[in-house]
Symmetry: C2
Subunit: 230 residues, 2 copies
C-alpha cells in the first residue's frame, strides 16, 4: 500500500521586488530622494530596512518615528515622486539569477506557485514582463487584490487562494523581514533570500526556515524544502 502524507506537496508564494527582480537598491535611492523632496531627511539605510512594507505605511511609520505630522496629500505626493524616480532609474529592470529557471522548474514539477507583489498592477508590469509573466495570469496577485499590503498577510492569503492551496501548505519566498512577518501571520513557512540586502541573521531572526543567496541557490536546494519527488 503506498504511503501518503496528510499534507499535499508544498506550494510557493513569491514576493517580486528584491526576490525575483533586482530592484531594492533603486527603490531605496528613489524613496530617499522622494522623502527628502518632501522635507523628510531619512538616511538611506533606514529607508532600506522599510522597503517591502507598503509605501503608504512606511512613510507614515517614518513620520511617527520622526515625530512629525503628515497630511495624506503630502504622503501621496512623496509616493508619486518615488514612482517617478524609480521609473527614471530602472530603464533596464534586471531579473535575479535563477528567477525564471526556478519558476520553470516548479511548473515542470507540477508544483503550484503564485506571485504576490506589494506593487500596484501598473507599477508591477515591468517586473512581471522581465520575468516573462503575463500580468493577467490567475496566479499573479497585486496590491489591488488585497485589502492591506505587507506586513499584513492579506496578499499571501489572496495568492494562496488563487492557486487553491491552504496557506499552511505554502512556502513564502521573500527578501525582507516584512515578507517573513507576513508569512508568519499567514501561517505559511517563510524562506529568505539575501538578494534584498538583509543579512542571513536578520532573515533567520524574522523567522526564515532557510535562507538562500538568490533564486538560483534556492533552485539548487529545492529538496531541502520538503518537496516530494513526483
Amino acid at each position: 500500500m503506498p504511503r501518503r502524507s496528510s499534507a499535499p506537496n508544498p506550494a510557493f508564494l513569491f514576493d517580486v521586488d528584491g526576490t525575483l527582480v533586482d530592484s531594492v537598491y533603486e527603490h531605496v535611492t528613489a524613496w530617499t530622494e522622494a522623502l527628502a523632496r518632501g522635507g523628510m531627511l531619512v538616511p538611506a539605510w533606514r529607508v532600506h530596512r522599510y522597503i517591502g512594507m507598503s509605501g503608504g505605511m512606511f512613510v507614515r511609520a517614518l513620520a511617527r518615528e520622526m515625530d512629525r505630522s503628515l497630511s495624506d496629500s503630502a504622503a501621496k505626493q512623496m509616493d508619486e515622486w518615488h514612482k517617478q524616480g524609480f521609473a527614471a532609474r530602472t530603464k533596464n529592470l534586471r531579473t535575479l539569477p535563477g528567477s525564471k529557471e526556478l519558476l520553470d522548474e516548479l511548473t515542470r514539477l507540477k508544483v503550484r506557485w503564485a506571485i504576490a507583489t506589494s506593487g500596484k498592477l501598473d507599477s508591477a508590469v515591468p517586473a512581471l514582463r522581465a520575468l516573462g509573466l503575463n500580468e493577467k495570469a490567475r496566479n499573479i496577485v497585486t496590491r489591488e487584490d488585497a485589502k492591506l499590503a505587507k506586513p499584513d498577510p492579506d496578499l499571501f492569503l489572496a495568492a494562496a487562494k488563487r492557486i487553491r492551496v491552504k496557506p499552511q501548505h505554502a512556502i513564502v519566498v521573500g527578501d525582507s523581514v516584512w515578507d517573513l512577518l507576513a508569512a508568519r501571520r499567514a501561517n505559511a513557512l517563510g524562506v529568505g533570500l539575501l538578494t534584498g540586502g538583509y543579512s542571513r541573521d536578520e532573515l533567520e531572526r524574522a523567522g526564515a526556515y532557510r535562507v538562500y543567496s538568490d533564486p538560483a541557490d534556492l533552485l539548487q536546494h529545492l529538496n531541502e524544502l520538503g518537496l516530494r519527488p513526483e
Copy 2:
C-alpha cells in the same frame, strides 16, 4: 598622587562614505550600472557587500568570482563610469545624523581624530566639504596617502601617524566589514555603524567592539568607548 593609565586617551580614525556621509546606496547603484555597462551583471546586493573595499580590488574580486578575465583598461573604464554615475546621482551629498556634532565634540574634548577615506582626493572633496572639513588639513588621509586601500590597514596606519598616535590606541569607526578587517590588521579597536546597511550581526562578527546606529548614537555613547573625562 594622581593615577595614570599606561595608555593615552583613545584617538578616533573615521571612514567617510557610509560612516559620516550618506553615500553607500548611491555607490551601489552607480557601481551596479558601471559593471553592467562593462558586461558584468552583478546583483546589487553583492555589490553592496563589496563597497568600502578599493574599487579596483573589488572589480577584480568579482571578475575572479565570475571566472572572467578582466583587462586593466576594462577595469579602469568601469571605475570611470562609476565615478560619472555617482557624481550624477549625488548633487546633494548629505551628511549622516550627528557627523559634524561628533567631530566637534571630539575637538572640544581634545580627543585626537583623523579621517581615512578610500576615495581619491578629488572624489573625496564633496564629502569633506559637506562635513565642513578642509581637504588640506593634516588629519585627512585619502587614497593617495597609502600604498594599499582597505581592507589593507595602510590608510588607517597613515591616518594614525598623521595625528601621532599608535594604532593600538586608536578606535576605527566604519560602516563596513572592510573597515573592521582593516582595523584588526592595524591593531586598532573597531567600532561599527549601521549607516552603511550592514546588519549589527555582520559588523560584530567582523570584529566590531560596539555597533551604533549612526554618528549621533555614537556621540551619545562616547563614554562606552573608554574616553577619560579631561
